[in-house]
């Protein structure tokens, strides 16, 4: 069972980006440049594939000394930010490009799915494209003939199978493309972000199919930005950063590390020096932090637990009615909601004496959706005076354990939404 099926030995891959063109200045220079352009272009294009001993500045190592092993039957996730080297790794594994150094041993038939519908030709019919695409993905003609009916059924194309695919809707096109890919039966499957296409229903179908493949004992390498999908499919995950493996271990551990490092989760901000703290003559901020129900400062929350967002600030002048408040933003920078402390009767419409204050806002469990959130903290006097404000003061991450809470016994990927509140439901049978 646990035989090594893929062995990657200190793999490196070097790329060169064409050097930037410099701007033109005088007419004379423009003419001179025009004449000398072929010479420069030739040098530049030729250098794309030749490398000197010393690393020049437009050379980057997309992968640097990567080593890992994959056992048979393992479903390995590969995550990392854009440009971390994930796609380069898949391209080398699927032999699209060759490594600069190092080697890979692969024991078994490998198919790679870097996109669905590779080689689809718009002028050809669905039937013709199934054969072409199947062959491109590495299936033999006989194999495609055997699976043809299954592929057509899976794609739900039915009567349009002999229509050129350029007349298909984009949904039909993707369904057909995925149907072919879904019928690959390699021992090792490489998948890159293909689940990012299509509508939610289709993504679910793909994920379901991936789970079948994973459960079927085949080895899968799954590259994705979709952390939820990686969490559900993979026991083990590798985190790439700037071409290196920075974490390799259980998915939970690696994802946690990635979310903490990748999104720059900062669960506490504190200003010890009053003079440099945000604010002015009236108010200066002291600290902003996120805490869990045990009172620990943390940036990681389960979707079902409450989050306590805390602000501490100094009041330096007497005679002000103050309101402290938070703006909550999601990953895309969308302002989700705002909360002010004027709902707290303790200091409502009361002038504050000089001193330090602490305001705590509680976001209940089962309220935010999973994701990363940033908080803007501010202290104001109504209506128009802003005393202190800190943008992106802190951030925290909410993750979905995959069961319970608002999702109940719904096990698929949650369809989305900015928040995921716990709402009351009543269902009754209406006799007619």
């Amino acid at each position: 069972m646990s035989d090594t099926i893929i062995k990657v030995n200190s793999l490196s891959k070097r790329y060169r980006f064409g050097a930037a063109e410099k701007g033109y200045k005088t007419i004379r220079e423009t003419i001179m440049d025009f004449v000398s352009t072929p010479v420069r272009n030739f040098a530049r294009l030729r250098s794309l594939t030749s490398f000197g001993k010393n690393d020049e500045k437009d050379v980057i190592w997309a992968l640097k000394d990567i080593s890992f092993e994959v056992n048979e039957g393992e479903v390995l996730g590969i995550i990392g930010r854009n440009g971390a080297g994930k796609s380069t790794l898949l391209k080398i594994l699927s032999r699209i490009t060759e490594p600069t150094n190092g080697s890979i041993e692969i024991h078994g038939r490998l198919s790679s799915l870097l996109e669905v519908g590779t080689g689809f030709h718009p002028e050809l019919t669905g039937r013709e494209n199934i054969f072409l695409n199947g062959a491109i993905l590495g299936m033999r003609k006989k194999e495609i003939e055997r699976k043809f009916d299954d592929i057509v059924t899976f794609s739900e194309i039915g009567q349009f199978i002999d229509t050129p695919v350029k007349r298909y809707s984009s949904g039909m096109y993707v369904r057909l493309a995925f149907a072919v890919a879904a019928h690959l039966e390699p021992e090792i499957l490489l998948v890159d972000e293909v689940l990012a296409v299509g509508d939610i229903a289709f993504q679910k179908k793909c994920l379901g199919k991936m789970e079948d493949v994973a459960r079927g004992g085949r080895t899968v390498l799954f590259v994705s930005h979709n952390i939820a999908a990686v969490k559900r499919l993979c026991q083990r995950t590798i985190l790439l950063e700037q071409g290196r493996v920075v974490e390799d271990g259980t998915t939970d551990k690696v994802v946690k590390y990635y979310l903490g490092a990748g999104l720059n989760i900062n669960s506490e901000r504190k200003w010890d020096d009053l003079k440099h703290a945000p604010g002015g003559d009236v108010v200066r901020l002291h600290a902003i932090r996120a805490k869990n129900s045990q009172g620990e400062i943390t940036g990681e929350f389960n979707i079902q637990e409450p989050i306590y967002v805390e602000i501490e600030f100094w009041v330096l002048q007497e005679g002000w009615v103050l309101e402290d408040g938070f703006y909550f933003y999601d990953e895309s920078g969308l302002l989700m909601f705002v909360s002010l402390n004027n709902l707290d009767p303790a200091w409502h419409n009361r002038k504050r004496p000089i001193g330090r204050y602490r305001g705590v806002c509680c976001l209940p469990g089962n309220f935010l959706n999973e994701g990363a959130f940033t908080v803007l903290a501010a202290v104001v006097t109504n209506p128009h005076t802003l005393h202190a404000m800190e943008r992106d003061a802190i951030s925290f991450h909410v993750s979905d354990s995959g069961s319970g809470g608002v999702r109940g016994d719904y096990t698929r990927e949650w369809p989305g939404g900015v928040i995921r509140p716990w709402l009351e439901w009543k269902t009754e049978y209406v006799p007619s």
Binding site: S94, I96, E98, E105, I106, H107, K141
Partner: protein
């Protein structure tokens, strides 16, 4: 990338590492991918004349119209010699070979760039790309050839026994087109200038081949040098075998065949040497 496929237990073992040195064609691997090869050729054929009114008739329109123009200008006006046979069939016999050759070279040369979608997303022996058009255009050649048979009947010109060498002549054309195509295809992956170069290279090459004039127009002492252009031997062989214009040009063909083999060899070597970076620069 060195691909070593060997049996370890029941499972194939593949080793991927930087490829060093030069290598020729890996026929075993090509054979393993023959189904893909087949479907790509079929695709090229099916797609070529999709949504056209004339469809496969386009395969004869080009040589036919060129024949008409050439007969008017080179035959009637310039009075170029045609080895004793009517100028239309003299030029058409060369034009079908030439049309096949030039479309194959163009298709083959642009193959790597035009299949960049495949090359950057999936592995297959890259040689399939330049080979596909050379095979796919054979169908056009056959269609155009049928017209030649009709013209031969019309002019009462009958083939000699040397027509048995026809397949060999066709293979020579294919080897030459593939050889040149492989070189251009490799170069064009990095230098897009090649795309602009091909049309006039082909144009120039046509006038450097005995398409509108016979080899006999040149002094005999230059014939063998002239045969360094592989299409000289092929076209002259075509006319001799099918139309009986001159004696079968065995010596010309020997030179032409050698050059064409060398071109193919160099092309394959260069293509295999450069294919490893196609996906990176394309």
């Amino acid at each position: 990338m060195k691909d070593t496929t060997q049996a370890v237990g029941a499972k194939p073992c593949l080793i991927i590492k930087p490829k060093k040195g030069w290598q020729l064609i890996d026929f075993k691997e090509l054979a393993a991918y023959r189904d893909l090869f087949y479907f790509l050729v079929i695709r090229d054929i099916k797609v070529r004349y999709k949504q056209t009114v004339l469809g496969g008739l386009w395969a004869i329109v080009q040589p036919l119209f060129m024949m008409i123009v050439f007969s008017l200008f080179f035959g009637n006006l310039a009075k170029l010699p045609s080895d004793g046979i009517p100028y239309p069939i003299f030029s058409y016999s060369a034009l079908i070979a030439w049309t096949y050759f030039s479309s194959s070279i163009s298709g083959s040369s642009s193959s790597v760039v035009s299949s960049s979608g495949l090359i950057s997303k999936v592995y297959f022996p890259r040689l399939i790309a330049p080979l596909t058009p050379v095979l796919a255009f054979l169908l056009d050649f056959v269609i155009a050839f049928i017209i030649l048979i009709g013209m031969m009947l019309y002019y009462h010109i009958y083939p000699t026994i040397m027509a048995l060498f026809l397949p060999l002549l066709i293979i020579l054309m294919m080897l030459t087109a593939t050889g040149v195509g492989m070189i251009f295809a490799s170069l064009s992956a990095k230098y897009r200038d090649i795309a602009y170069t091909i049309p006039f290279v082909v144009q120039f090459w046509m006038f450097a081949s005995p398409v509108v004039y016979p080899v006999s127009m040149l002094p005999a002492k230059y014939h063998l040098i002239y045969a360094i252009n592989p299409m000289t031997g092929v076209i002259e062989g075509f006319r001799s075998a099918l139309l009986g214009t001159v004696a079968f040009p065995s010596q010309l063909l020997l030179v032409s065949a050698s050059v064409s083999l060398i071109l193919f060899f160099i092309g394959a070597l260069y293509f295999r040497h450069t294919e490893r970076y196609f996906a990176d620069v394309i």
